[in-house]
Every structure is written in C-alpha cells, then in structure tokens.
C-alpha cells in the first residue's frame, strides 16, 4: 500500500475535499514530506492504518463519528490529524502541542529541512491553501480574479479562476482506495 495514497485518504476525510481536488493543488507531496520528517513513522503508520480501516467499514456520518472517536480524540493521533488538516487549509505547519512533543516527539538532532516550529510550508503552498476556495475567494496576493470582479454578486464572477468543482466526498474515494 502506497503511503502517499494513504495520506490522501486521510486528507479527504479531514478536509472535506475530494481526492482529485486535493491532488490538483500539486502540493500534497510537499505536505507529506513535512509530515513524515516531523512525526515518527510509527505514529503515521498507525494513523494511516486506522483511517483506512475506518473508511473501509463506515461511510458518511458514521465514518465521521468513528473518525472523531478513534483518531481526533486520541491523544497520540489527534494532534497529528489536526496538523494535516491545518496544512491543507492554511499551508502552515503548527508546532505540535507541548504535551504531545514531550510524550511522542523525536527531537531532531541535526537541523533538518523542517523543524517542528510554526512555519509557512512554501510560497506555492500559501497560494494553494484550501481556505480560500472554501470562503469563495482567492488567496490574498495571488490568482487575481480580474478588474471589477469584486463588484459582482458573490458567485457571479465571470473571470473567477476555478480549479474544478468541489463535489462532495464520494463513497468510492472515501472507502476503496486500493
């Protein structure tokens, strides 16, 4: 099983965006790299296995409930899952909570490419943050929609850049990844 595919699987449930929309950002692999360099492999594996198993067994609201129960409210997996969600929406890595770091963190001995501190993942990531399409606009400072578009009724912008319609998460994408 490809770990990147697992990463997308958990990301779909977390973000509410479907897999093709997430892949279209072109930034998933960078988030995956950040995650795997800052969180111990064992915990990531546990998160992926758990998420895949849940998605296999449950759908829709039931899946969300189980996801909360098994992952989001779990002291080991919850903070990691929330950080993945924040990466997708805000393009930021937030330092993991103090208690998590004390218990599960592996202090980086040598300064690596990434450190577990607050940082913007990259210039391109900022532009691809999912919060912007979610709130119906474009990232501030990029993807300019064109002169005068702000005068239109929301949703009517003729020149608005649209990276593809955001369909609801489909069952197929949630469950059957392999």
């Amino acid at each position: 099983m490809d770990k990147l595919a697992d990463f997308y699987q958990v990301s779909v449930v977390l973000t509410g965006y479907n897999r093709s929309r997430l892949m279209a950002t072109g930034i998933g692999e960078e988030y995956f790299e950040v995650l795997t360099s800052l969180v111990p492999g064992k915990i990531i594996d546990e998160l992926f296995i758990c998420s895949r198993a849940l998605a296999h067994e449950y759908k829709g609201e039931a899946l969300n409930e189980k996801f909360r129960e098994q992952i989001l409210s779990n002291d080991r997996l919850g903070p990691v899952a929330r950080n993945i969600l924040k990466m997708w929406y805000l393009s930021l890595w937030y330092q993991l909570p103090q208690s998590w770091r004390e218990t599960y963190g592996v202090p980086s001995q040598t300064p690596g490419k990434y450190q577990d501190i607050d940082f913007v993942i990259s210039e391109n990531a900022y532009i691809q943050g999912l919060v912007w399409p979610a709130l119906g606009s474009h990232p501030m400072g990029a993807k300019q929609p064109g002169y005068g578009t702000w005068a239109f009724k929301p949703g009517e912008e003729l020149t608005r850049i649209n990276l593809g319609t955001d369909h609801p998460v489909s069952d197929i994408e949630e469950g059957n990844l392999s």
Partner: protein, 619 residues
C-alpha cells in the same frame, strides 16, 4: 572620503515625498542626490515605456518579486512583512505593540515608548518608503479642516487655505494616478454643507472611479436616507466611493505610470486583494514609480544604504552646509563608512518621525522648540460583524468606499470628527481571518471535513468590518525625543515616543461606536466587536472601553505655521531657522482631520518643489 561633493539639492529619503521632489527638480535640470537609508529595490517593475531594467542598475531584476516571496512565506502577514528587517535602518512593526504598564517604558521594538498609551503606527525603511505598503486612499481635506482654530476653537489653523492648495491637489492626483469621479468627490450630493469640497468647474480625475464592491452597494441600498443625530442636529449617512491611487479605467489618452503587464491589457487593478502589504502587479501607486521617472531625467542619483545622521550648519549657524551619512555594505553587518555631501538646498523627506529625529540629533531648525512635538495619527477603531447574507468578503482592494458625511460639522467644537472606511477583507484586520481564525475552528470548535468546509463557506463570506478614522488634535506632549541610551546598531538614535489620546478624540470614538451600533441595528448585522483591556490600544471614556489601532498616518512632528515661535516651517515648507533647508512630508501638517494624509502631503510637496526651484533660480 570625498567631502567636497556638491549637488544643487540633497534629498534625505527615497519615499514618496523625496521622489516627488527629485522628479520635479531633475526635470528642471537641477542636479539631485537622494540618500536612502534602506536597501534598494533593483529593477523595479515593467511599465509601458520601460520594458527593461536600466543598464546602470546593478541589483537583480527580481527584488520586487523577492518581496512577494517573503510575503508569501511570512508567518505574520503584517504591513512590513514583505520588506527586509534591516538592523542598519530599523523600522517599527505592529507586532512590537503591547500595552505599556504604568510608569514603565516599552522598548521591545524600534520605538522606545514611554506612554502612557502606545503609538500604534508604523512605516517602512526601504527604497520606495511606506507607500510600498500603503492602501492608496487619496482624499482631499475639507475647507474647514484648514481652519479648526478659527471655526471651532480647537487645534491650529493652517497658514494656507484649501483654495491655495487646490491646484496642487490636481497635480498630485494626476501624477499619483488617482481613480475617482469629481462629481462624487466634491460631496455636493451629501446633505451636510460642512463636508462640501469645491472642485474646479472643469476638473476631472484622470481615471474613472474604481468599481465599488458588492458590499459597498449593499450598504448604499441598506443605508439610503439614514440619518444620525448629534447634539440635536441631524446628519446624513452617505456611502461614497473612495478616491484611490490605483489604476482604473483611464479617461481620454491618459495612461497611468507603471504596472506589471502590457499597456493594452490595461495595467489595471486586478483584484489581488493584497494592497497592504504589497500589490503583486503594482497597479497600486508606490513611490518606485516616481523614482523611476526621476531617474529618467538623468539628473537624479539615488544612493541606497546611506543613512543620514547629521546636518551640519555653516559657521554662522545659518545654512545647512553638509549632510553627514553612514554608508553600510550589508544589512546584516554594522560595518560602515562616514561620508558628507553638500547641497545648495537640503530637503528632508525621511518620514515624519525620522525627519524630527534628524533635526533633533543635529540640534537644528528648533528655535521654536516644536521639533518632534504634535505627533498625530488617526486612532482607528474597528467594529465588525456578520452580515445577514453573503456579501462576498475577501474580494477586491482593501476598501473601495466609505462614509464621509460625518467628516465635518458643528460637533467639532466638542468632539473629534471621523471618517468611516468600509473594509472589503472580512475580519482580516480585527481577527486575522482567515489564517488566524481557522485554527480555532479546528482546535477549539472541533470541526473537520465537510462540516468545517461548509461552516467556512457559510460564515466567512458574510464577514465585514468598519474602520473609524478618528481625528486627533496637535498636542505638544505627544512627541518624539532622543535619549543617548537608545541607539540602533549603527549608533543612530532610536525614536523615543510619548503619546496619549485626549478626551476630545475619545469622545469621537464613543460617537463613532454609537453610529456603528445604529447601522448594525438597521441592517441586522450580528455584532462581534470586542475591545479587551489586553489590546495594546485599549482606553476608556465615560466608563466604556474602546480600542484603537494605528492608521500609519504619522503627522505633525515639524508643523508649518505663520509664526516662527510656534512652528518649524513657514508656508513654503522652508525652515524658519535655516533658509536653505526645506522639510517635506506629513510632519508639516498642523492638524490631521479626517483624511488619509498622503495626498495632501503630496500636493504640498509639489508646491515645495516649486518653492525650491524658485529659490535656486532667483529672478
């Protein structure tokens, strides 16, 4: 070290005021040197008649693009985020701000603040100056703003009238590239004669007004015919588009200067919604545009990384004989060399606080003891809420309209006037939305997946905020001073600032909050405004708490007047004490009133340039 270099004019500061001076003088054949404390911007931008970086420019083409990258990857997207933090030319940051505990000094940023309240505004020290991150609002002052003392018994009168400044406003509006319609900006449609501004009969702005946002239109409809009452008198609430130095649709054959993109594509504002801190396509005016034109005269040299630190007078103490400056090689390293140059005329254009600092450090131009005093800003109070319906927040330039109908009136005898700015970027200013607020939805409100996405989609497009720019009067105790204990790494002084907000202004904030409450009631806006004692700008008035923010409008540190005992410059913007010294910038303005100050300051600077020219060419 060559200390004999001489120019017709030496200008300190490559911001908007220095750039205007340089262009006007260079165009008239005068040799000009600009000393700029900050780093350069290299090949600046592509403009219609400047498709390639000039040869002599040694810096890489991509400097402006570097600012963009720095902005994208900055954690705190504050106004100064894109611009280098340069310990050799330090600058204040909004993130330095904190309440000042009673009797203490706050010196964690560049400013040393002695309080009692913190001075909340900032500026930029890099080539191009603070207009790199300004919003570009370009309002004229009202005629009554020039006569506050005479009409209302408050503040000071200006030594000039609106009518004298009017032709210079026209020049400034043309050269900065202001988009607006004269028949709206003269406010004749507003049922409050106090705010009417007489425009020349035939005058029109060079570009059509920037389209008003959907939110503005929503307010226009919802507030039609609304009135508020102050001291038993009714005043109208009118939503009017704001004049902006931002490329719109040109009228006739006018073409704005410089924006990225080809002329035929319009070079118009494309709605990047990022004017503060940086417009990616330079559709918003910044001083680099004027500097570029100044350089094209062939008479203007700009020396970056040169911090002016002292003005030396001749033996009689009459004229400024030399300007001393420190040239550093790299912003990481304090190593520098000291140089001096002379100018037949010397112009200080280094920003209100820095001009005052330089004069105080040199012990010149201060026979009135007014240098550094009367520091003013627009304490800016925000109110914010959720509109009952999707108004398309987070789109367009930062603000495209305001409510100017309460800018003037008899109430100024007892309390400050204000202008209301309608913000297009949701709660980005009051709450840091969306990047600053979404973590709370995830960590505290425990949202994820579809629920999170739908919540953002249904709430964020309804976010909106007002900004109330409340006027402040000149006060001799609000001032910039120097202290030998506080210096930067080059050994130059850091500004020591004492600041307070008087009851006159606080009463204006209270009146503003009442107007806001009435508008919220009328439109069914769900209010979320909160003023916390932990806010840096928290204050109380009659038992109620309010918070102010900085507007970036630093005014009044070397005021002009018609009496050498009470002012620093005369109406020609010439130092009363030193005939060859001119000061330009918002520091000259004796009062701030309710308009963002830069257009007025630019108009004054065009006039000052004319005065310098006449001084150099006596007939």
């Amino acid at each position: 070290m060559n200390n004999n270099e001489h120019f017709d004019v030496v200008i300190v500061g490559a911001g908007i005021s220095g750039a205007i001076m340089a262009q006007e003088l260079g165009k008239n054949g005068k040799s000009v040197l600009i000393l700029e404390a900050g780093t350069g911007t290299g090949g600046r931008f592509f403009s219609s008649d400047c498709d390639a970086p000039s040869q002599e420019n040694s810096q890489p083409l991509s400097s402006y693009q570097t600012y963009m990258s720095t902005f994208f990857t900055a954690l705190a997207k504050i106004p100064n985020a894109p611009y280098p933090n340069n310990a050799n030319a330090p600058q204040p940051l909004v993130t330095d701000l904190a309440p000042i505990p009673q009797g203490q000094i706050s010196d964690n940023g560049y400013f040393v603040q002695t309080g009692p309240l913190p001075f909340a505004s900032t500026y930029t020290r890099a080539e191009g100056g603070t207009t790199l991150h300004w919003l570009g609002t370009c309002l004229r002052m009202l005629p009554e703003d020039f006569e506050l003392k005479t009409r209302f018994g408050r503040g000071l009168d200006w030594p000039i009238s609106y009518d004298e400044l009017r032709p210079w406003y026209e020049i400034a509006e043309q050269n900065l590239g202001v988009s607006a319609n004269a028949n709206e900006q003269n406010y004749q449609q507003i049922d409050n004669p106090a705010v009417h501004i007489p425009f020349a009969a035939s005058y029109e702005y060079k570009m059509e007004k920037i389209p008003q946002s959907y939110l503005d239109q929503y307010f226009s409809k919802g507030l039609a015919q609304m009135q508020v009452s102050f001291e038993g008198k009714n005043y109208p609430i009118d939503v009017v588009s704001t004049p902006q130095a931002r490329n719109g649709m040109p009228r006739g054959d006018y073409r704005p200067v410089g924006a990225v993109g080809h002329e035929t594509a319009g070079q118009r504002c494309a709605g990047n919604s990022n004017c503060v801190p940086i417009c990616p396509i330079q559709a918003k005016y910044n001083a680099l545009k004027t500097l570029e034109q100044a350089k094209k005269t062939g008479k203007v040299e700009i020396r970056t990384q040169c911090v002016a630190y002292q003005l030396e007078t001749d033996e009689q103490g009459k004229n400024i004989a030399r300007v001393h400056y420190k040239k550093y090689q790299s912003s990481d390293n304090p190593d520098h060399q000291c140089h001096a140059v002379s100018g037949t005329i010397v112009v200080l254009a280094s920003h209100a606080v820095e001009n005052a600092k330089l004069l105080l450090a040199s012990n010149v131009a201060n026979s009135s003891d007014q240098v550094g005093r009367n520091l003013m800003d627009h304490p800016t109070m925000l109110t914010w809420g959720l509109m009952p319906t999707d108004i398309g927040a987070f789109r367009g330039p930062g603000s495209t309209s305001g409510i100017p109908s309460l800018r003037g009136g008899e109430f100024r005898k007892s309390r400050a006037a204000f202008r209301i700015e309608i913000g297009n970027w949701g709660w980005s200013w009051p709450e840091g939305a969306p990047v600053g607020t979404v973590p709370d939805l995830i960590d505290e409100k425990n949202m994820f997946g579809e629920q999170l996405k739908n919540y953002i989609a249904s709430v964020y497009p309804r976010m909106f905020r007002f900004g109330f720019l409340v006027e402040q009067l000149p006060d001799a105790n609000n001032r910039v001073t120097l202290d030998d204990n506080y210096r930067d790494q080059l050994g130059n002084y850091r500004p020591v600032i004492s600041y307070n907000v008087t009851d006159y202004t606080r009463a204006g904030m209270a009146a503003a909050k009442e107007v806001s409450d009435q508008i919220f009631q009328r439109l069914g806006i769900e209010g979320f405004t909160e003023y916390k004692p932990s806010d840096a700008g928290y204050l109380t008035y009659r038992g109620e708490g309010y918070s102010y923010n900085g507007a970036g409008h630093l005014v009044g540190t070397h005021i002009m007047g018609d009496n050498p005992n009470t002012s620093v410059v005369n109406k020609y913007q010439q130092s009363w004490d030193h005939p060859n010294l001119y000061l330009v910038g918002c520091g000259n303005m004796p009062t701030i009133s309710t308009s963002n100050p830069t257009l007025t300051m630019a108009a004054l600077t065009y006039w000052a340039a004319q005065n310098v020219l006449e001084a150099l060419n006596p007939c």
